[in-house]
Amino acid sequence: MLSRSAERIYWLARYLERTENAARLISVHMNLLMDLPKGVDMGWQQLIRINSSEDLFFKHYKVANERNVANFLLVDEKNPISLYSSLIYARENMRTTRELLPDEAWEQVNEMYLFVKSNLDSVNNRRGRVIFLKEIMEGCQHFTGLLSGYMSHNHAYRFIRLGRNIERADMSSRILELAMLLLGDSRSSEDRQYESILWRNILQTLNALLMYRQQVRSRVKGDDVLNFLLRDTALPRAIACCISDIAGTIEKLPNNDGLPEKVAELHKYVQNIDTDKTTQRQLRKILDDLQSRLGSLHNDISENWFLVSEIAPSQSQEQTVEAG
């Protein structure tokens, strides 16, 4: 497999995962707001903050209200990590690797792109947005299913899994960060009573509520949720599970010099996070740290398998900077 194709296919998976995550995040945030009484401020601004894009947002918008934030995160092309931008990049990367993937997979991504392109305005009201988001989340799942059923689980497939899981682990850590931020903001005791609503929604964002109930078998409590989402190795969107998947994939790729050890180290780091003994502030720092470790894992993957940048300026420009 060409190094360039490996790189593009890896980014295709990252961007599609990012597309799905953006849809998921907004979708659950809307639900959260509908569960909370009026006046409880679980602000939209935090969604901007966890994606580290406050500067860009306030350059183009005055107020971080629902409409603006939804617009910014979903359909704004000026935002390189908006759902629409991610989908455009995903499609571009795919357009250049079509020879490696089943036709149906290309058609799926292309259809999603055409759908978003012709429904940009629909996200401005909640009803339209709900339909829009559902379409995208289903579309992304459809894509994953197509590959799983139609494609040989070869090296190309492995690079898809690598990209997907790095992006997924990164997003899960950002969603936990969001929980910390929202909790940190809600100081009054009145707000505190909505904590379990918040955690339930966080679980839903990661499609983890049912699995949590089966696994933890107690009511939804902050520490348990954190532990589950950080350290569980069976839940697809738990960080430890993403890392094990990465470990398994890297194991099967050629010339993986030194990488299995690095991933093992990262795995150990996650398992050693002690949620009982940390404050919210410390935890936020840990999550930040985790994100930069994932970033450095990305760099190792890139150096190991992709074209070294000396000759491929156009490719590297094509990708947005690591979020964060």
Binding site: S3, R4, S5, A6, E107, L253, P254, N255, I311
Partner: protein, 483 residues
């Protein structure tokens, strides 16, 4: 007759489907019968279905414009263009004959130049050709074939004679659209194909793969074949990816390849360097190797010419093959056929005036308003003058251009090229068409069944290039005896 024919009027031009009046030719009987069974509403539905399929399949081409490059959906007309099998077999023979002669000519040009020495062509034509590459003199590609893939443009005049208008021997494109057009037709007219027997076209990628394997420099059992593309911003990128996919070959860009110290070509893979045996290159000669040609080229591979000359890699088409893809050289093809093959040409050339010849130049300058004038080396329909459709100012400008650089221009009579029914809004109207079959030559020779029919969608227009508002049609070679 159904209402969709209301606007169908043909004058003196030859119509591919109809006799004068509205009587189908024998070969068009079934198609006409079927079209007559459709209401305007039916046909509109088929058209919408086709457009949707094109969008979803992502069949696109890129247009260069001031606002940047736009990826456009492929313009497709749903009414197929039809040709009778018997006629087609004759054309097929003519095309093979032509490509064989052209390859003899290119081999000769880079070898002893007997054609010139025997007085068949003035040496200035080669000496002044932009596409003649001195670096290639003395090379002997396998089977002595330089142009492995050729796309010839055919047009039919008012008497029904098929002419070869030009031979594209550099990097001809369009074959993927030919294949995709058939896929779309199968989707939207499944019931029609039940009753008509047409020749299949979908073995082209396999034929291409066989041909490319046959030119590999070492006879390994399964040579590593790659398609070299200039990248996503090239107008034919879709096609490069499509063909690579259909052949199971790697689609590479220049930066994926290196020439190592052993003068072999390798591609950079996740498992390290892997040797490449055959490159189907879709990059012009000029950009192939910055060591030899355009030094600023970032599309090519430094050292590629060394590797090719050392016989370590095969290139299709071979560098320098473009010397025969020149509208001046074109005029000599019938003579080449007689000279090298000792045969009479089966397909006629369009009469061509060479502006490099003073007498012919005088005639051209005098009759500019009746002629089509083309630059010798452009493709894509750029920089040409269609006399009868041009303004006096355009004619005057061209007069200057031609007189300034006569070697670079040829002129041909404006042919009244044939028409084929085309869906315009919800009625059928005649529109001008040409045909680009694709011919492969390696160890064997192969011609596609039919080719890509291009159609000038604008009423009266003769320009069929997709970059200039042309569309395309599925082309059916219909077997009448089979019924």
């Amino acid at each position: 007759m159904s209402k969709i024919w209301e606007n169908y009027k043909i004058d003196a031009t030859y119509d591919e489907l109809m006799h004068s009046g509205i009587q189908p030719r024998p070969v068009g009987h079934s198609l006409c019968q079927y079209l007559n069974s459709l209401s305007e509403e039916d046909i509109k539905q088929r058209k919408t279905a086709a457009e949707l399929a094109i969008l979803e399949m992502g069949i696109s081409f890129t247009v260069y414009s001031d606002e940047g490059n736009i990826d456009r959906a492929w313009p497709f007309d749903i009414i197929p263009r039809i040709i009778d099998t018997q006629e087609w077999h004759a054309i097929e023979k003519g095309l093979k004959q032509r490509l064989k002669a052209l390859n003899c000519f290119i081999s000769d040009v880079y070898d002893q130049q007997l054609f010139i020495k025997d007085g068949k062509m003035p040496s200035e034509i080669i000496n002044s050709s932009k596409n003649f590459l001195p670096e290639c003199v003395g090379m002997k590609p396998r089977h002595n074939v330089w142009a492995n893939i050729c796309g010839s443009d055919l047009v039919r005049d008012e008497n029904g004679t098929m002419y070869v208008l030009e031979d594209n021997l550099r990097v001809p494109s369009g074959v993927s659209y030919m294949l995709e057009n058939r896929v779309i037709t199968k989707r939207i007219f499944p019931e029609l194909l039940e009753n008509i027997s047409i020749l299949p076209i979908d073995d082209y990628p396999a034929q291409l793969q066989d041909m490319l394997s046959s030119i590999a420099s070492e006879q390994s059992k399964s040579p590593q074949i790659v398609v070299l593309t200039p990248g996503i911003y090239n107008s034919a990128y879709f096609e490069h990816a499509y063909l690579a996919k259909q052949m199971g070959a790697q689609l590479v860009e220049g930066s994926d390849l290196i020439v190592d110290e052993d003068e072999c070509v390798y591609m950079r893979t996740i498992e390290g360097l892997q040797k490449v045996d055959v490159i189907y290159r879709r990059i012009d000669d000029d950009f192939l190797d910055p060591e030899v040609f355009n030094k600023d080229s970032t599309l090519g591979v430094p050292g590629l010419m060394r590797a090719w000359k050392a016989g370590n890699v095969a290139l299709a088409n071979a560098p320098g093959a473009g010397v025969a893809d020149d509208k001046v050289v074109y005029a000599y093809v019938p003579e080449m056929i007689r000279y090298y093959l000792n045969e009479e040409p089966l397909l006629p050339n369009v009469p061509t005036y060479l502006c490099s010849d003073p007498e012919q130049l005088a005639y051209v300058v005098e009759h500019l308003a009746e002629l089509v004038v083309k630059p010798a080396n452009e493709s894509g329909g750029y920089g040409m003058l269609v006399g009868p459709h041009a303004t006096a100012k355009e004619v005057a400008e061209f007069k200057k251009l031609v007189q300034k650089d006569p070697r670079n221009y040829i002129a041909q009579p404006t042919l009244s090229i044939s028409t084929s029914p085309t869906l315009c809004k919800d009625k059928l109207e005649p529109r001008h068409v040409d045909l680009r079959p694709f011919i492969l030559q390696g160890e064997d020779t192969f011609v596609t069944a039919g080719g890509l029919t291009r159609v000038a969608l604008v009423k009266g227009s003769l320009i069929v290039n997709s970059s200039q508002g042309g569309g395309s049609k599925d082309t059916w070679i219909i077997n009448l005896e089979d019924k």
